[in-house]
């Protein structure tokens, strides 16, 4: 009898374990920001909330090294081993990741998005911003999750007031040059103690590219006309006279008011602004969190920080409205996922008003319904976004060869900004490399 009972219990146990295993749908999520404790906690909260709504779905967030995330994503896709849900970046070539797998690495989401309404009333079709930023060949391959805007000029009201400078001057290229010169101070030996303006220069940091592109676009240049396809070698405008002009301007303002020609990371410049050693600089929405916590003296963020739009090009008697850079981190579903429906339910939940409100710590929500809350709890950030969204937004060309292009762009920008090459030399060389990259792909 005891033996029978023992076997019966064992079988029951096995049945329960197996049953539990079968009943659970397991999903994995990979995002580059999971080593940020606040954002990781947000993700865990979202997972717990989601699992209450969908008890049969088990979601695991993978903790990955943020700096290695993008390369690992490439390799994982190439090995068919990526997570069910992955974060991508509209400003760093979604297509190059998507096309790493024959037939596409990411699932087309249009049929899932159509008519999908969350319990809080959020309609994915109507309430999510930037849906067109994630469409490739007419299909939506990712759902925008959070969005970044760059770049407004940030300055201290008190500094401009003390110098008797009208902040309106910051709204043009020539005005910024004039203000930067006026606010630059030096000691008796001529060594600069306060820099009127500073711009990143290093090739190692992608932020140099991010903060430089709006200058090229506003001057009328870029990589391709309007960064739109077809992306053929004959359409490259990387060595255009507009780009040369933009760099000549950046060099002149750096020379007149910036730190010396050494390489500078954006993260070298930001602390200088926070302490008041840099009078004004360009900033993106995500910069706001560090400005909010670290700007000196305490309280300066709310009382003294002010924004001016990215300057209008006004050189050579021409006028060109500012062009901003916009990018975001949409969520995509792997085409290899065994549970696409459940994966979509999860990314849809990540767009609920509550989740989007919490994500405001990092960037701007994409759910329109979460924006009023974001603007009320983060009024400065709201002001920043409101200013940025008045202007044209552009993103870099989404080409499969983006990684190689990025390498060329960074080296070119660095060479020019540290004065190793003239803008013409470096841009000509860069364009020649880009032609080779595009032609190599054709072969």
């Amino acid at each position: 009898m005891r033996t029978v009972a023992k076997y019966a219990f064992s079988l029951l146990f096995l049945f329960l374990v197996a049953g539990f295993g079968f009943a659970q749908t397991k999903l994995t999520v990979a995002c580059w920001w999971m080593n940020d404790p606040v954002r990781a906690a947000n993700m865990q909260t979202a997972i717990v909330e989601f699992q209450k709504l969908y008890p049969k779905v088990q979601v695991e967030a993978l903790i990955l090294d943020g700096t290695k995330y993008w390369d690992k994503l490439y390799l994982d896709i190439a090995n068919d081993s990526e997570a069910d849900i992955v974060a991508v970046d509209t400003g760093a070539g979604i297509s190059s990741y998507d096309q790493t797998r024959p037939g596409g690495a990411f699932l087309a989401l249009d049929k899932y998005i159509k008519g999908y309404v969350l319990k809080d009333g959020t309609s994915l079709e109507k309430d999510i911003l930037f849906l067109n930023a994630t469409q490739r060949s007419g299909q939506t391959i990712a759902l925008p999750f959070i969005n970044f805007y760059a770049q407004n000029t940030v300055y201290r009201k008190s500094v401009l007031k003390a110098a008797g400078i009208d902040p309106k001057k910051l709204e043009t290229w020539s005005g910024q040059l004039e203000v930067a010169k006026a606010l630059t101070k030096a000691d008796a030996s001529g060594k600069r103690t306060t820099f009127g303006f500073a711009h990143p220069t290093t090739a190692k940091d992608v932020l140099t590219r991010w903060f430089t592109m709006p200058y090229l676009w506003t001057a009328g240049g870029g990589i391709f006309p309007l960064e739109k396809g077809p992306y053929t070698p004959d359409r490259l405008i990387f060595n255009s006279k507009e780009n040369i002009k933009a760099f000549e301007y950046l060099l002149s303002i750096n020379k007149a008011a910036g730190p010396t020609g050494d390489r500078r990371y954006y993260d070298d410049i930001r602390p200088l602004f926070l302490t008041g050693d840099v009078a004004f600089m360009q900033a993106a929405i995500w910069t706001m969190s560090s400005i909010e916590t670290d700007m000196m003296p305490a309280g300066a963020f709310t009382s003294d920080l002010a924004f001016a739009p990215f300057p209008t090009y006004d050189l050579d008697g021409q006028k060109r409205a500012p062009i901003y850079e916009s990018w975001g981190n949409p969520l995509a579903i792997s085409s290899k996922s065994k549970h696409p429906k459940e994966a979509f339910d999860f990314i849809a939940y990540m767009h609920s008003i509550e989740v989007q409100k919490r994500e405001g710590v990092a960037a701007s929500p994409v759910n329109k319904k979460a924006l009023p809350f974001y603007n009320s709890v983060k009024p400065k950030q709201g002001e920043f976004v409101a200013m940025a969204t008045k202007y044209e937004m552009r993103i870099v060309p989404d080409i499969p060869q983006w990684n190689e292009f990025e390498g060329v762009i960074r080296q070119t920008f660095n060479s020019i900004l540290v004065g190793a090459q003239t803008p013409k030399e470096a841009l000509d060389e860069g364009q020649a490399e880009m032609v080779k990259i595009l032609q190599a792909k054709k072969k």
Partner: protein
């Protein structure tokens, strides 16, 4: 234990080194050679890696940047090895002399060599910063320069700067090896030379140099082979810039492999670099063979 079983175990143990060699050297090497003849582009969207003959080598050959990189690598290797060998020899000779505190100095000598590359890179990046670096503060205080020199960002001086950093980090190893060789020279030889009235330079060229030359030569070859594939220090200090002025072939292999995932091109570059190293290794073995 039966004699046959014991012999079997012995035979297996003797085969283990060969197996290790096959697993960790031969197979990866053969794989790299195969990849260098294949269309191995992980981002191409294709899972097929077709045989493309010498296409990858041709691509490398035709890349204007490759020849620029090869020239930079040549200069970097030449001057870096020259610096390490010369400084290593001088320091070894100094530390072989009799003076107080020699032991402490010998211990201190190991520090740069023992430091991880990342620490050295970070130290020098701070030390040479044009705005806040100690080096520029000194130069400005002595009024030797009118303004801070961007040592790492000037295309004309970035290469000599990374060469000097590399020499600083690696010369202690050469010095220690040569010091060991110097200490093996019988004292009687110097005593006999003293009796014959030999001058210091004569003693160096007639006794010290011939007695340490074989170690010096081995170090030279090892340093050449090691420096030609240098990566970490240069990558960390300059990242290959500015204007590709410090872009060694090793850095491009890294970019091709881990940034652009063009493993075919990267393998072709790697094989070319390996062939160059093999030539140096061949010179070394020829020397050893002749000596015997």
């Amino acid at each position: 234990m039966k004699k046959t079983t014991r012999r079997g175990i012995e035979a297996t143990l003797f085969i283990l080194p060969l197996l290790t060699l096959v697993l960790f050297v031969a197979i990866p090497l053969v794989q790299a050679v195969i990849m260098s003849f294949s269309d191995y582009d992980m981002l191409s969207g294709s899972r097929e890696h077709a045989f493309v003959g010498l296409d990858n080598y041709q691509t490398v050959w035709e890349k204007a940047r490759f020849w620029k990189m090869a020239a930079i690598t040549g200069w970097y290797t030449l001057w870096s090895v020259f610096g390490k060998m010369l400084l290593g020899l001088i320091v070894a000779l100094l530390l072989n002399a009799k003076f107080r505190g020699k032991g402490i100095l010998r211990s201190l000598l190991v520090i740069p060599w023992a430091m991880p590359g990342i620490v050295v890179a970070f130290l020098f990046t701070l030390f040479l910063d044009s705005e806040y670096g100690v080096m520029n503060a000194l130069l400005l205080a002595l009024k030797l320069v009118p303004e801070g020199v961007p040592f790492i960002s000037r295309a004309d001086i970035a290469l000599p700067v990374v060469i000097l950093i590399g020499v600083w980090k690696n010369f202690p190893f050469v010095a220690l090896m040569l010091l060991a060789a110097l200490q093996n020279i019988p004292k009687e030889l110097y005593e006999a030379a003293d009796v014959d009235g030999a001058k210091p330079l004569q003693k160096f060229f007639r006794i010290t140099w011939p007695m340490t030359f074989s170690v010096w030569f081995i170090m030279l070859i090892l340093q050449l082979v090691g420096t030609i594939k240098e990566f970490d220090l240069v990558y960390l200090v300059t990242g290959g810039g500015p204007a590709l002025a410090t872009n060694l072939v090793g850095l491009d292999i890294y970019d091709q492999s881990f940034r652009f995932f063009k493993l075919g091109i990267a393998s072709a570059e790697g094989i070319l670099l390996m062939l160059l190293s093999l030539i140096l290794a061949f010179i070394y073995y020829r020397y050893e063979f002749r000596k015997r």
